[in-house]
Amino acid sequence: MSDLETNVERVGDALVVSVRGEITLAQTPSFHQSLVTLCAQTPRILVVDLSAVPYMDSSGVGTLVDIYRKIRARGCNMALVGLTDTVRSLFEITKLDSFFTILPTRDEAIKS
């Protein structure tokens, strides 16, 4: 239950990281490190596909905020795609749904 899997795919000048599993306090240290490594590759856009993430807590949101800041500091973009209803509601509660670029699909994010 606590394992989190990430799969990275390069699509042109975009990096798409597909996440599978819950993103909570138990997983965020390794999740954060994975994303920091991707930031260093300075893709035009980092697409985080959360369609296989059924649950996230505030530590997961905090990780994404930190990665967003890091990647923007490198002049790159970041988008979140495929949010489940539960994860979307977390972004709404924390009022971060307008802070991030949230799109329905990875294709839309890659083309953005």
């Binding site: 239950m1 606590s2 819950e22 909570t24 306090l25 138990a26 649950y55 807590d57 505030s58 530590s59 949101v61 905090g62 990780t63 905020v65 930190d66 209803d85 539960t86 509601s89 977390l90 509660i93 924390t94 009022k95 971060l96 802070f99």
Partner: protein
Amino acid sequence: MRISGDPHQLAAVRIQVQTFARDVGFADSDCVHIALAVDEALANVIEHSYGGRCGEPIDIELADAGHKGRAGIQIKVRDYGRQVDPGVIRSRELENVRPGGLGVHIIRSVMDEVDYTPADGAGMVLVMKKLSRS
């Protein structure tokens, strides 16, 4: 119930809270949010009250607090760690977007009543209540 404060145990607690909330009559979307509030409360205890140490005790009590035909729940979380002035436990300003500090905001957003008090001896007691809309 008493749990050992460990981030890897929180998923199991969440499921128990969701099941209890559903059993007392909350809608599925409310059950998810109530479990989220408890999750955030326990994460805060591990991170702040116990300074990140795992394995410390946390007591959780769930009670049916239905009232006048509305589903209701009361959740009590008691730890034995650091005591803090309840006045300093507050949501941070969301305009200042940064990692961390969102847990209390989530708890206060989801639950109707949130009350932190220092416990006798050591630690804090958090009591959270919520009633369904109808």
